[in-house]
């Protein structure tokens, strides 16, 4: 590596190097600036933000703005709701997708290929198309303002089944399954006691994708969680933003504190995150 960089670092290529750096640094700045700007406004009073020129350096009202957030929405309640919903969907999805993925990867049964193709076809349909009847079903079930309205439909994950099938067929050897079968193990036990421990890395990957997706989801929670005490973080943020009196310091404070936990988790597991999300895309 060191040898290589010496080679290409020779004077002949240095202007290229300069442009590559320039491009990456400006790209990074464009990525980071909105975060910084959000922080600046989260520390400023509304009247400071309304001045021309607007402030570009942090102010002194970080705590005060967040207190205003707490008095207008149940911020921590909403965060807890988001956490409950996202965790439940993640755990449920990991279980159902790995079980179905195991079935498609390792068991033989009639109609296997057709059923698998059917699952793939369902991936092409955008969920918004059935939005109104879905709302109707949720109302009929009495699940309005109930987390089940998000958790149960959230368990449908065709991509997850596909992903788990790919992973399991390459990482769980057939011989082990056959041996366990001869010893009289049921299929579920082979899945639960033998296969699951072997596919934990795939759980981490799919888990990150699903959790982030549910945490950031907006349209469906907006439709089915009307009661403010049931709001997830995204719906609560929207309520904050919709208030008559636009207090940008307060709105930005809420947005800032809603974003920070995710950024911290991301920075801690940055490699796993990026690898998971890009793998998930490239494989499909």
């Amino acid at each position: 590596m060191a040898k290589e960089s010496k080679e290409v670092g020779s004077s002949k290529f240095s202007y290229q190097k300069f442009f590559v750096y320039l491009f990456l640094i400006s790209g990074s700045l464009i990525s980071l600036f909105p975060f910084y700007y959000m922080f600046v406004m989260a520390t400023r009073l509304n009247r400071e933000i309304n001045q021309v020129p607007p402030p570009f350096a942090p102010g002194a009202n970080l705590v005060e703005n967040f207190q205003k957030v707490l008095s207008s929405i149940d911020f921590f309640g909403a965060m807890w709701n988001s956490f409950i919903v996202a965790s439940s969907v993640t755990v449920g999805t990991l279980f159902l997708c790995s079980l179905a993925g195991y079935t498609f990867a390792k068991l033989d049964f009639k109609g296997k290929n057709i059923l698998f193709a059917l699952i793939l076809v369902t991936m092409m349909v955008p969920p918004q198309l059935g939005l109104i009847p879905q709302y109707y079903i949720i109302t009929a079930l009495g699940w309005l303002n109930d987390f089940r309205a998000i958790i149960v439909p959230g368990l449908i994950n065709a991509f997850g089944i596909f992903w788990m099938r790919q992973y399991i067929s390459s990482s769980v050897p057939d011989e082990i399954i056959e041996a366990a079968r001869i010893d009289g193990c049921s299929h579920f036990r082979i899945y639960w006691n033998i296969s699951v421990p072997m596919i934990l890395p795939a759980f981490a990957t799919l888990g990150i994708i699903v959790f982030m997706h549910v945490w950031n989801d907006f349209l469906w929670p907006l439709v089915v969680l009307r009661d403010p005490t049931m709001h997830t973080l995204q719906v609560a943020l929207r309520a904050l933003n919709d208030a008559r009196q636009m207090d940008y310091g307060m709105i930005m404070s809420g947005t800032f504190w809603a974003t920070v936990p995710l950024i911290i988790v991301f920075l801690l597991f940055n490699r796993l995150f990026i690898q998971s999300l890009s793998e998930g895309a490239v494989k499909s």
């Binding site: 909105p34 700007y37 033989d108 059923l115 009847p133 299929h187 950031n216 943020l237 933003n241 890009s278």
Partner: protein
């Protein structure tokens, strides 16, 4: 577990099949209830007048007449296409360039740059729309207007004028997704064998030629994938216009999903909303077909060439 005990008398093959059907049944049951049935029911509902509470009344194709005589409906279709293109095309172009820069052997701190570029994707769309809502504020203190004022350009009413609305929303889409696509392009580029580049360098190929003759052709499947997902994503555009424009959803920025959401959950007109969903459904099918056709065509020409 129960099935296996019940099925003790059955042959091994039958037992396996029974367990298999049991293991995959949750997906099909849930999809039937929350996926398939709603879609079919959307068709049914589009022929009825319904406010969500009182009984439905059959009104034939009246809902379709209503939306097709509503200029806002056509605006929503057009807006979806325009914002989709404005948000997606630069994303793919810049994404490939960024990925190429990140893949370059010339640089250090690659992981740091990668993390920075990827960070916007972690942020929720609601947060992105709120932040950019202040950046694109109508008042002179808004960030974009302030920058423009230093060039002596007067304040733009970002959320009320035809092109500024689209530019603002497309910027949100671009900012959140460009890093994600960069990482996907990068993953694709890293799977291209290094020998190809080395051979090209020996033959005296410039960087431009390397991109054009090696990287892009090898990256074609990934680009197809990104275009495909970005297209589907464009048709689902909802959160940005709703947060940026409020529930009034001005005609300049309303998208198709926003239109059907507003009809249903603001105006309580579930019939016209379903009719709009049906139209959206056919547009998506048409676009998907065109996408597949182009993908096939390109795939074939590659084989011949």
């Amino acid at each position: 577990m129960e099935t296996t005990t019940k099925a003790r008398g059955l042959s091994e093959k039958k037992k396996t099949a029974l367990s298999a059907y049991l293991f995959i049944s949750p997906f099909f049951i849930l999809f039937a209830i929350f996926g398939l049935f709603p879609m079919v029911f959307s068709f049914y509902l589009s022929f009825f007048r319904w406010d969500g509470l009182s009984p439905m009344t059959y009104i034939g194709v009246r809902n379709f007449e209503l939306i097709f005589t509503d200029p806002v409906f056509f605006s929503s279709i057009l807006n979806t296409f325009i914002i989709g293109l404005m948000g997606t095309l630069p994303q793919i172009f810049i994404g490939i360039l960024l990925a190429f820069a990140l893949n370059s052997t010339l640089i250090r701190y690659r992981n740091t740059f990668r993390t920075f570029v990827f960070l916007p994707y972690i942020t929720s769309i609601v947060a992105v729309a709120i932040i950019f809502g202040v950046v694109f504020n109508n008042q002179p203190f808004g960030f974009a207007n302030y920058i423009l004022s230093t060039f002596d350009i007067g304040p733009i009413r970002w959320n009320a004028e035809y092109w500024p609305v689209k530019f603002a929303i497309a910027t949100m889409v671009f900012w959140r997704w460009v890093g994600y696509n960069t990482i996907i392009f990068l993953a694709g580029m890293q799977s291209i064998p290094k020998e190809l580049y080395e051979a090209a360098k020996i033959d005296g190929a410039t960087v431009g030629q390397q991109i054009r003759l090696i990287t892009l052709p090898m990256l074609k499947p990934i680009v197809m994938f990104v275009v495909f997902t970005a297209t589907i994503g464009s048709f689902q555009l909802f959160t940005e216009p709703l947060i940026f424009l409020g529930r009034g959803l001005r005609e300049e920025g309303i998208t198709m999903v926003a239109y059907l959401w507003r009809d249903a959950f603001v105006y309580n007109s579930f019939g016209t909303a379903s009719a709009a969903a049906i139209v959206l459904f056919f547009i998506i099918i048409a676009i998907t077909a065109i996408n597949l056709l182009i993908t096939n065509r390109l795939g074939r020409s590659k084989k011949i060439g």
